[in-house]
C-alpha cells in the first residue's frame, strides 16, 4: 500500500495507521478488533490509488453510524493532513441538529402567572446554549415515579400486535403447528393449535419543551418522560425542544432517574433558552426517521405553547403531527392555574386539533393527567375544545 501522506517505509506507515486507529478509539469510533481487521483487509485486498480512495476505504470499514462521520473526519484530517479530502456533506446529526431560530430582541422569560393571558409575544427565541443539572430526585419523588410508571402502563391504549403468538384454544387455526403435531400421531389430526394476535401497547411519543419559559418545571417534566420510557413496552420516544430539537430517548435509557437526567443534561444544549416550537416541530416532521415515530403513536406535547412571534408554522406543524398520530395531547404547565383559559394565539390556534389540553407542571399533576388518557382514547378525536367551553366554541379553520 502506498502511504497516503507520501513518505516513509512500511514500518512507519503501519505505525501511522495504528496511531490513527488509536486516535479514533479515543473518540469512540471503531474500537472493536473486527472493524480494525476489516480496515487492514480492505487496504490489503485493494490498495488505494489516492487520498480520496484511502479516505473512503477507512470510512466504509471503520464508521458504522452516520453520526460518527464528523468526528471521524476530524481525526482523519488531523492525522493525514488532508485539507482537500472529499469532504462529503455529512448529513444532519441525529441527536441534535440546529434549528435556525429567528433572532429576537426580547429574551425576557415571564413567570407563568403573568404569562397566562399573554399573547406569546414575550417568549424569547434567542438561541441560548447552556446545560444544567436537574437536581436530586428524592424519596417522595421516587414513590411518585413508581406510581407514574405503573400508571403509564395502565393507561396506554393497546392495539393487536402483528406478531402472532401460539395459543391453545383462541385465535385462528395454526396449520403448521397442527400439522407438526399430527406427525406425532401418525398423520392423524388429533390436537389443534391456534395463533392469536396479542395486544401490545401503543407507542408513546413525548415532545418536551425545555425552554426558559417552563424552566422551573423542566426537571419534573423530564422525570415524567423517564417514567414513560421505563414503563412503555412498545417503547416511548422522547424529544426535547427549545430552540432546537434533540432526541433524548437514548440518554434516558438508564433505569436510575438521577443518572438519566444527568445524561439528558449533557445531551441537550438549549435548556432554559428561547422558544422556537414551530421550527422544532417542523424539523421533527421534515426528518423522515423522526416523523415515522409519530405514526400510530400517542403523541404528547409538553409545552406552554408560548411561541415567539408568528404562530403560523407552529399551527401547521401541530396539525401534521395530529394527523399522523393516534391521539395528540397537549400538557401545559400554565393550564394548572385555576383561572387558565387557552386564549394565547398559539394554544387557541392548535386547540381544534388537540384531543386533550391538560395541565401538568409536576409529578402529582402528571399522575392526575395520565388518568384522563383512557377517556381521551375512548372518545372521538379532536374534542379538546369541548373542555374549554367559554373560549371559542367555533372550530377554527386555518387550513387554507
Amino acid at each position: 500500500m502506498r502511504d497516503p501522506a507520501g513518505n516513509g517505509g512500511t514500518e512507519q506507515v503501519l505505525e501511522r495507521l495504528w496511531g490513527f486507529l488509536g486516535a479514533l478509539r479515543a473518540e469512540g469510533i471503531a474500537g472493536s478488533p473486527a472493524r480494525r481487521e476489516d480496515f487492514f483487509r480492505a487496504l490489503a485486498v485493494s490498495a488505494p490509488r489516492d487520498a480520496a480512495a484511502f479516505y473512503w476505504r477507512a470510512r466504509v470499514t471503520l464508521v458504522d453510524d452516520v453520526r460518527l462521520v464528523p468526528a471521524f473526519d476530524a481525526v482523519f484530517g488531523s492525522w493525514f493532513l488532508l485539507r482537500e479530502h472529499p469532504a462529503p456533506v455529512s448529513p444532519a446529526g441525529e441527536e441534535s441538529s440546529g434549528v435556525p431560530a429567528p433572532r429576537g430582541t426580547d429574551t425576557g422569560v415571564l413567570p407563568p402567572a403573568e404569562a397566562v393571558l399573554g399573547s406569546g409575544a414575550h417568549a424569547g427565541a434567542d438561541t441560548v446554549t447552556s446545560t444544567r443539572e436537574f437536581g436530586a430526585t428524592g424519596d417522595s419523588r421516587a414513590r411518585l415515579l413508581r406510581a407514574l410508571e405503573a400508571e403509564w402502563r395502565r393507561v396506554l391504549p393497546s392495539v393487536r400486535s402483528r406478531r402472532h403468538r401460539p395459543s391453545r384454544s383462541r385465535g385462528t387455526l395454526a396449520l403448521r403447528a397442527t400439522a407438526r403435531l399430527a406427525c406425532r400421531t401418525g398423520g392423524e389430526v388429533v390436537y389443534l393449535r391456534h395463533l392469536t394476535r396479542p395486544p401490545r401497547l401503543r407507542p408513546v411519543l413525548l415532545l418536551v419543551d425545555v425552554s426558559g419559559s417552563v424552566k422551573q418545571h423542566t426537571p419534573d417534566l423530564l422525570r415524567l418522560a423517564h417514567a414513560a420510557t421505563r414503563a412503555a413496552t412498545g417503547g416511548a420516544e422522547v424529544f426535547t425542544f427549545g430552540t432546537r430539537l434533540t432526541r433524548v430517548t437514548a440518554a434516558l435509557a438508564h433505569p436510575d432517574t438521577g443518572r438519566a437526567l444527568t445524561a439528558v443534561a449533557h445531551a441537550v444544549s438549549d435548556v432554559d433558552g428561547g422558544t422556537a416550537i414551530g421550527a422544532s416541530l417542523a424539523e421533527f416532521i421534515a426528518t423522515p426517521r423522526f416523523f415515522s415515530l409519530a405514526r400510530g403513536a400517542v403523541v404528547i406535547v409538553v409545552s406552554d405553547g408560548l411561541e415567539r412571534g408568528d404562530c403560523d408554522l407552529m399551527l401547521r406543524c401541530t396539525r401534521r403531527v395530529a394527523l399522523a398520530g393516534y391521539r395528540l395531547l397537549w400538557w401545559s404547565p400554565l393550564a394548572c392555574a385555576p383561572g387558565y383559559r387557552p386564549v394565547t394565539r398559539g394554544i387557541a390556534g392548535v386547540l381544534p386539533w388537540l384531543d386533550r389540553l391538560g395541565g401538568v407542571r409536576d409529578l402529582p399533576s402528571g399522575l392526575a393527567e395520565l388518568r384522563h388518557v383512557p377517556d381521551v382514547c375512548a372518545r372521538p378525536r379532536r374534542e379538546a375544545f369541548r373542555e374549554w367551553p367559554d373560549t371559542n366554541p367555533r372550530r377554527q379553520s386555518w387550513q387554507s
Binding site: 403448521r176 426517521r289 401534521r320
Partner: protein, 291 residues
C-alpha cells in the same frame, strides 16, 4: 460476474453507469469492498436516494438472481429463513402407512424443506444478490436471526445441520434509521450513508433515465431540483422523485408546452405534500424561470 478479473471501482462505475446507476466514489468503494471482503453492505440514507435500486442494479451487473426480503413488524424466522413443509410430511406418513412409500426416516430432509429468502440465498447455485429491505421495520429481536447468516453466510437447521453458502451472496441491507440497529448487526457489515447526489451526477442520472432529454433541459431541471432541496420543505425530493418529475415535464414539453410551464405542471411528481406544493407555488417564478 464477468470472468475478467476483480471488479475495481473504475470497472464498477462503468458497469453501474451502464445500468443507469451513477454512484459516487464512497458508494463505489463500499460496493467494491463488500465484494472483495465478502461482507454484507448496510446502506442508510434519506428515502429515495437509491438504496434499494443499488441491489437491483447489482443483480444485473453480477448476472445473479435478486432475492428480496421486505421486513415488517412480526417478521419471523419461518418467513425469512426456512420452514418445514408439514402438509407434505403428513402425506408422507400416510403413504408410509399405506405401504406405498418407504419409511418415514427422511421426513426432515431437504425434500421437505421450504426455502425462504435467506436460505434461498445460501443454497443459490451461483450466488445471489440478497436485498434485506428496511431492516428497521422488523422487530429488533429479528436481527438475532440474521447474525449467523450475515457473519458466515450459513444457516443452522437443528434437524439437518448447518448449510453453508457455496458461493457467497452479495448482501445489501437498507435502513431508514427509524430505530437504532444493534451493534452486533452493524459489526458484521460495511456501512455507507448515501447522500443526495451532486448536480453533475444528478444530471447524468436524469439523462440516463429520461429518454430524449436534451442537455439544456437537464441542466434546467437539475438546477431547479437543487434549489428546491435547499428550501425548508417537509419532505425533500429524492432522486426517484426528480426522475419522475423530469419524465413528466419532458412528456409535457414534447406535447408542445414551454419548459417552465411543463415543469410547473408536473410538480405533483416532485413534491407530494400539500404544504410543500404551496410553498413551491409561491417561488415558482424564481425556481423554474419565467413563463
Amino acid at each position: 460476474m464477468t470472468a475478467a478479473g476483480p471488479l475495481d471501482e473504475y470497472r464498477l462505475a462503468g458497469l453501474l453507469a451502464g445500468q443507469g446507476y451513477f454512484a459516487d466514489e464512497g458508494l463505489l468503494t463500499a460496493v467494491h469492498l463488500a465484494l472483495r471482503l465478502g461482507k454484507p453492505l448496510l446502506l442508510e440514507g434519506e428515502p429515495g436516494v437509491g438504496k434499494t435500486e443499488l441491489a437491483t442494479v447489482m443483480a444485473s451487473v453480477l448476472s445473479r438472481p435478486l432475492i428480496r426480503l421486505q421486513c415488517f413488524e412480526g417478521l419471523d424466522s419461518a418467513q425469512a429463513l426456512y420452514e418445514w413443509d408439514h402438509p407434505r410430511q403428513l402425506l408422507r406418513i400416510r403413504e408410509a402407512e399405506a405401504g406405498t412409500a418407504g419409511g418415514t426416516d427422511d421426513l426432515y430432509s431437504e425434500r421437505f424443506l421450504l426455502a425462504r429468502p435467506l436460505l434461498r440465498a445460501v443454497t443459490s447455485e451461483h450466488g445471489a444478490v440478497l436485498l434485506i429491505d428496511e431492516i428497521d421495520r422488523a422487530d429488533s429481536e429479528f436481527e438475532a436471526f440474521l447474525l449467523e447468516f450475515l457473519g458466515d453466510f450459513q444457516i443452522t437447521i437443528p434437524e439437518l445441520g448447518t448449510l453453508t453458502a457455496r458461493r457467497k451472496p452479495f448482501v445489501v441491507l437498507s435502513s431508514n434509521r427509524t430505530r437504532e440497529l444493534h451493534g452486533a448487526l452493524k459489526r458484521r457489515c460495511l456501512y455507507h450513508w448515501i447522500d443526495f447526489p451532486g448536480s453533475e451526477r444528478e444530471k447524468a442520472i436524469l439523462e440516463a433515465h429520461v429518454p430524449g432529454l436534451d442537455v439544456e433541459a437537464a441542466e434546467r431541471l437539475v438546477r431547479a431540483v437543487t434549489s428546491v432541496r435547499r428550501l425548508p420543505l417537509l419532505k425533500r425530493p429524492g432522486i426517484a422523485e426528480s426522475v419522475e418529475w423530469a419524465r413528466g415535464a419532458a412528456a409535457l414539453a414534447e406535447d408542445g408546452a414551454a419548459w417552465p410551464q411543463a415543469m410547473r405542471a408536473a410538480l405533483g411528481l416532485l413534491v407530494k405534500d400539500e404544504e410543500d406544493t404551496r410553498l413551491l407555488a409561491t417561488k415558482a417564478a424564481e425556481l423554474f424561470g419565467d413563463a
